[in-house]
Point group: D2
Chain length 331, copies 4
């Protein structure tokens, strides 16, 4: 995953959250969009914030392994009837092949992309680090993964397996309901997942569950929770550790209403070339959700996505009374 675009009805608030609290740096602005990156993200930007009347996903950009792979995957997506054609790209992004997921999420494939080079004052002595660790906020190191809600998990999963080479590492089924797939965690590399798909119980299509950024240090999730509490950012659940993927999680809602996950470690890494998909049953799901004592609130975690459904506007209203400090704070 190279980049993601989030829609936000509160561009100033979202910008405050991602730059002041999460310490991301701005790399460009254009019209209603602001481009941001984490300090170890390899490319020009990993997050594009765009002003919009409703929150949600604007786009997900996947980088292929080669120019040939881009052409090959584009053909496969066209054959699947999901392609939306070639684009001329974006700031820092060359031409892309657009498509939508079976559930309607906007995505694109790209090969040509601008690698980030820091100006001298921000170059790090740690040579694998693309820029100095920022001194403001509690900065995650890179964009990690995306979790999508889908009205039909299996269809969404299989498309990604068949056209883009994803493997399903873990899945949850409801054995009491004939084995319906409730969730799936997919990866094209050693990570436990780069994309997850969870069933949208409301039946809505094309919604975002969350976008995740990676710390790699469990304590940083505790620190992030403390800063969110101090500065009025709504915490949904965590810090705790998922049984599924073994990832250390913290879920919060950024001021625009999108759910953001902060990922305190890498979870399980998979190195077996012939690994099997692990299947959880809904009846034993507790450990899958959290190894510790965290409860993922049923009234939000399993039904709230962006854009929200009508009934969810009320949930959003409750978050508006935050004591956020929009302009940041002086030393």
């Amino acid at each position: 995953m190279a980049h993601a675009e989030l829609h936000t009805p509160d561009l100033e608030g979202s910008l405050w959250f991602f730059t002041r609290l999460l310490g991301m740096r701005e790399t460009a602005r254009h019209q209603d969009s602001i481009y941001l990156r984490c300090y170890e993200d390899p490319y020009h930007h990993s997050l594009k914030l765009t002003a919009h009347d409703r929150p949600g996903l604007g786009n997900i950009g996947w980088r292929t392994t080669s120019p040939d792979a881009l052409q090959r995957r584009a053909t496969a997506l066209d054959q699947a009837g999901l392609g939306t054609g070639w684009t001329t790209g974006d700031i820092g992004v060359g031409r892309t092949f657009g498509f939508t997921s079976p559930d309607g999420h906007p995505m694109e494939l790209v090969w040509d992309i601008e690698k980030y080079t820091a100006p001298p004052a921000l170059q790090s002595r740690i040579l694998t680090r693309r820029s100095k660790r920022p001194l403001h906020g509690l900065p995650p190191r890179r964009l990690d993964h995306v979790n999508l809600m889908a009205s039909d998990v299996t269809t969404q999963k299989e498309l990604f397996e068949h056209t883009l080479g994803f493997q399903t590492r873990e899945r949850v089924i409801d054995a009491a309901d004939g084995g319906t797939e409730i969730g799936a965690w997919l990866s094209v590399n050693n990570l436990g997942h780069e994309m997850a798909v969870m069933r949208d119980q409301t039946g809505t299509r094309g919604r975002l569950h969350h976008l995740a950024f990676w710390y790699g240090v469990p304590q940083h999730n505790t620190d992030a929770a403390e800063l969110c509490r101090e500065y009025g950012i709504q915490i949904e659940a965590g810090p705790d550790v998922h049984g599924i993927t073994q990832g250390a999680f913290l879920y919060v809602f950024e001021p625009g209403g999108n759910r953001i996950e902060l990922f305190g470690n890498s979870g399980i890494l998979q190195f077996e070339p012939d690994h099997d998909t692990v299947t959880w049953d809904l009846a034993d799901f507790d450990t899958g959700l959290a190894i510790g004592g965290a409860t993922l609130p049923a009234e939000t975690y399993f039904v709230y996505g962006t854009p929200g459904t009508d009934g969810q506007d009320k949930l959003l209203d409750g978050w508006k009374d935050r004591d956020l400090v929009p302009g940041g704070e002086a030393p």
Copy 2:
């Protein structure tokens, strides 16, 4: 606080939990009791497990600052009508002055106490450490504090202030109910609390809410939660950090049914000689309970204590299906 005695209807299970999972070491056995200590506890034992038909508190032993103070405090308790007389002590404990708290918790004061000296093989190169850190389990360093349920928080709190020199650091009141005290956190030293008192909504008297052991390292609470999950010990809530005391908490139920807190840091330390008591209102209690996203389950956290009330037997039954490994495990 020098030592505590817990009653347990499952002595073997409790012993497994405290020695195999928490890595405490046994220092003596006598009749139906087993004496245990953490590796930095200064005295002969900090925990005495005693077989009993119901869980709950057997005793709490407070060490005075001098022999004179023991006599002075005993007199004050006798004047308050709470003294139960001098005893000849216990293994590792000299004569004590027994008393009950206003709510009925059994307690004792002691000066003469046996300091622990490790056998040569267990002596640590770290000279302030009374014995080597164990290689088994995930060992807490020392007994930290006790939390008592009381039918009347204010009475309980004031007795300890007036007769034993405790100061109230933080308290919670219900402003909507005329300012009734719901909880109080008391200390005689720099710690945020050595004793807490929380209102027993069931009206029962003399019950234990929890006994706490100290790690001093936040990550160890996450590790402990993982081991509890793996070995079938019921987790109630956490790991997270309380706003009150700023202590990092994990609540679990040991196999005998008593709630145990593992404390991953020291929380706020108080060094002001003229500090004020901090007062939380029940309406703003969320941050007081947890800085992160943890929820303390209303059906247990605010009503369950040991010994349990009749209705609570059902809660206990649910914990019996644990996949605990009583005999430990071979390497």
Copy 3:
């Protein structure tokens, strides 16, 4: 310990370090001095930076337990011939009684002191926290302790025991040299130390070894080391854990040349009213210095203090090539 004053020949650089990298907040400026505090420090300021041609200690302020104690201690210091008389105080500090340590360190006692109250935007929902955790830098929570070099450790130690009520928790002797005291760690509360005294091998008097600030979270020392590396602050040793006090340490030199310790936990807390002083022998000192594999460099750790001796100017010159970003950095 209520506050400390540091002299610095690079006021701008020191201010950058304490505010931008350590996230302290400025509370006042007056003439050549800037007043700073950590976010949980209880008083108006804990650190006063004063421009001076050489680095070193300007003052250490100890708060007494009561107004009576102030008078009593002042009398004792006068009788010891160390008193320098009453002052009218400073910004946020009422009248003080000045004195010098036997080795010549400037100090003062105070009772009347201004407690810090945050403006509304910086008030924390965590009620024991005097102000919100800052969003800039990696902020320690409070001033922790001071370590002084002394030409005669025993004389320095005994004066503090006899006139100010300090207890010696741990000490190091050179058994091969007739038991000469090399170092002593003293406390008036549960902490492992609030003041340490280490022998100045150069025979110089009245020098500072280091001033320490407290994180209470071990990971934060690793984070601080990373930021110091990134931003050109010279690291002397750590992160590691001392055997003495069991404190998690990181030693760095702030741009003015003073050694600063960041303290990642509280180390051992002492609750025994009748504890003994622990004595380390120089021959077994390795574990005392570091539990892990850190080495404290002999060419700086045991000889460098501030103000430096003539030969130490060369050491300081080496630190000048840092790639510090004086003006901070934009998001």
Copy 4:
């Protein structure tokens, strides 16, 4: 990397270290060999300890991505003149193709391998975890990487690039010496390295620098250092974080004399399909070795490998006075 074999002249001591202190579990014994695994290792064993008169590497087993790849790589190695022929395998390992590295390290390729299935009592509720986290020792999760000393880094590196598909992620050159390669870090997946090669300044061939096991939690390196200090295991350096690979390291010597690294995080993960090799110059090597203040001791880190050279026997003698507890300890 699927498994490694270590030679040890102190089989009992080495077994104590890997099982009692590091909490690995034994899966088989045969003649002079003991087979061990970490709790998340996927295969029958990841470490084989074999009694031998000198420490060192017995073998390294690499698993190919498919049966075809095994044949293809075997042919390439034969063509390079390094193949030593097919074997019938080992306990838990099917037929292998043996080869030696250009510098003389014994290695093998394997496809058929026994996946580990835990007995019911050790099965974990966390379904991606092959067995419960042990309750003894401080258990790493899996075998991570190997670091080999080589008389010629470039030759060793290029063979692995050309015949086995490794990519060089980072390397160190001595620009002052014509750009000679001093070290190289290679990987076939997203990890920063699975194999490193460092120049053997003594000119000896085929030696092991270290074998590494992965915790994935930085605090566990601090805990491991503390246990090593308590139980007499020699610590060489750390805990700290390398600039190269950004891995959190702790180096210790197991009782047999082999250097073992404990890896507290995953370091940098590389997801760019077209990433460049990062080149460090020896003159700027400080940050590469450690981000914090750790110093890697020149008298051991850059010259000691196993088997040791003659002059290194004296180093080994010094480690024999450890206060190791061979039989473990009772609770």
